[in-house]
């Protein structure tokens, strides 16, 4: 069974982004970029499924600018067998990415598609579910445990108030939550090996997908600042402040 894994190149999670002074967006020039952490978990899961013998090939896909190649190389260093870049300089919104992935699903016929539940830049949490809808596949989002057989997946999901387990028939879409696994550190030999793996590039036009954005960003501003309050010397003062100043207890 083939598994397709989608990976997004995003601003590294340790970077605190700044809003541009003209309010047109956030400044990502000269900022460290990395693979979206949830996607790293998705790649790790796919590779583990391959190591268990239930999956035969792991294909990493990224959509975006040419530098997404680096993200794909990272995925291949974790253990993906080959990579596909859908290259475009256009702004890609989740619906467009889902359509691109749908076209690749038609081409590659994977038994399973694994994606991160959300990208930490736009915080949308949409692409996996959209792909499932477009490809008419069942979905199991926010996965914390995946067990795979030839034609079914049993997936434990993190939901409000606890956990829920679903059984979905394959092909299907799974999106990862934080506790699904802990991605391995990539080793230098594997980084070197990844450089030799196959990487194909398409344009959205090659896949017949219109990626025009549907949602226009009018402006981006800094959130209202929360000013630091005061330090209190002891517990008694804290209780007094909460009771008599903030009046919250």
């Amino acid at each position: 069974m083939k598994v397709l894994v989608a990976v997004k190149r995003v601003v590294d999670y340790n970077v605190k982004v700044r809003v541009k002074s003209d309010n047109s967006g956030v400044d990502i020039a000269n900022v460290k970029m990395s693979m979206n952490p949830f996607d790293e978990i998705a790649v790790e899961e796919a590779v583990r499924l391959k190591e268990k013998g239930v999956v035969t090939e792991v294909i990493a896909v990224s959509c975006g600018v040419a530098q997404c190649q680096e993200t794909l190389r990272t995925a291949m260093a974790i253990g993906a067998d080959r990579g596909i870049l859908v290259e475009t300089a256009e702004e890609l919104q989740p619906l467009a990415v889902a359509k691109l992935l749908k076209a690749l699903v038609d081409k590659e016929q994977p038994g399973l598609v694994i994606l991160g539940k959300q990208a930490i830049d736009d915080d949308c949490n949409q692409t996996g579910q959209m792909l499932a809808a477009l490809a008419d596949m069942p979905q199991a989002t926010f996965a914390s445990k995946v067990e795979l057989t030839a034609d079914k997946a049993s997936v434990t999901r993190e939901v409000d108030g606890g956990l829920e387990t679903l059984s979905i028939s394959l092909p299907a879409v799974i999106t990862t939550d934080l506790r699904l696994n802990e991605p391995r550190y990539v080793t230098l030999p594997n980084i070197m090996k990844a450089k030799k793996k196959q990487l194909d590039t398409f344009k959205p036009e090659d896949l017949g997908v219109d990626v025009a954005p549907r949602i226009k960003t009018l402006k981006v501003v800094e959130p209202a600042k929360r000013s630091a309050g005061i330090k209190v010397p002891d517990v008694a003062t804290l209780v007094d402040k909460l009771k008599n100043v903030a009046k919250v207890i």
Binding site: A98, Q139, L163, L178, I215, K216, K231, A246
Partner: protein
């Protein structure tokens, strides 16, 4: 122009997140209808009809809708979507699971996690863990939206008198089935609805210590318990207690952060709280930069002292 709110419910009652979503829908300015899709969910539909500002409730009932499977509930929403200009879901685990499925089938973009309605086609939403607020405008005919519940007040749960209309239940997709649910049993208020939250971080050191230190404080304050990602990853607290960018977004009246350093991802989940208290022995901890009251102390002595003083 009419808006449809997809109710969050457990078949017996309506969950609080629905009320905030109704407020967001009302801010758009159109009539507000509510869909209750469930099984034996008459009580939930009746409760939805009581919500102030709702003009109609559509109650779809069938076994295919009992477990809230995304495939079936999305089909249910799509069956009536043609009547609406706006379809709103609470940004809960359920709502986030469903909404994109509906949007994709309608071939429209989705606007996630809105915190403000500027006009019927323009909304504000946080991006980059809340480090920036984007104002976005949708050109699509139907707006599919998830609503960050902390961004909107709850609509009154009573006072309305909407008509309840029944709709046929969507067929089962046959592609997914519900196996089981492990619900964390707790007498405490729900994290996202709590007025007071006490939250513990990695400094607690173990699951035993987490319970030993945090539980008495929560009991004393009648608070919900939350945790930082570090504490959840280390196994000190359950997954669904995680507060932060990718966990629960909360905005209680009082948030007490104990032994939490305050990574930006954590702050993204709690910085809209009315009053923030930080107890941390590291004077440089970033949590102090958002705290109204900071206590620089070892939580293992300060928290029990606080419990005794309350």
């Amino acid at each position: 122009m009419t808006s449809l709110v997809i109710a969050e419910h457990d078949n017996a009652s309506i969950k609080g997140a629905t009320l905030n979503t109704v407020t967001a829908a009302a801010a758009i300015g159109a009539d507000v209808h509510v869909l209750v899709a469930g099984h034996n969910a008459g009580a939930a539909a009746a409760a939805a009809a009581q919500i102030a500002g709702v003009s109609k409730v559509i109650h779809a009932d069938g076994a295919s809708l009992e477990a809230g499977l995304a495939e079936n509930v999305a089909a249910q929403v799509l069956a009536i979507a043609g009547n609406y200009t706006h379809i709103l879901f609470p940004a809960t685990a359920n709502g986030k699971n469903l909404a994109p499925r509906v949007a994709a089938k309608l071939d429209v973009g989705q606007i996630s996690d809105i915190t403000k309605v500027d006009s019927p086609d323009t909304f504000e939403r946080p991006i980059y863990a809340g480090n920036a607020i984007a104002t976005v405008q949708s050109a699509d005919a139907v707006k599919v939206i998830t609503v960050r519940t902390t961004g909107f007040d709850a609509a009154a749960a009573t006072g309305g008198a909407a008509a309840v209309e029944t709709a046929g239940a969507a067929a089962d997709s046959g592609k997914s089935s519900f196996v089981g649910r492990e619900v964390t049993k707790s007498d405490r208020p729900e994290l996202t609805a709590a007025k007071i939250i006490v939250s513990g971080g990695r400094a607690l050191g173990s699951s035993e210590k987490f319970n030993e230190v945090m539980t008495p404080l929560a009991d004393k304050l009648g608070a919900a318990i939350g945790a930082s990602r570090a504490a959840v990853d280390a196994g000190y607290a359950a997954n669904d207690l995680q507060v932060g960018q990718t966990g629960k977004i909360v905005a209680p009246q009082l948030y007490v952060a104990c032994g939490i350093s305050g990574a930006i991802q954590h702050l993204a989940g709690m910085k809209d709280s009315k009053v923030i208290v930080a107890i941390n022995k590291d004077p440089e901890a970033p949590i102090f930069s958002v705290a109204d009251f900071g206590l620089e102390a070892d939580l293992f002595t300060a928290v029990p002292e606080l419990v005794a003083a309350l």
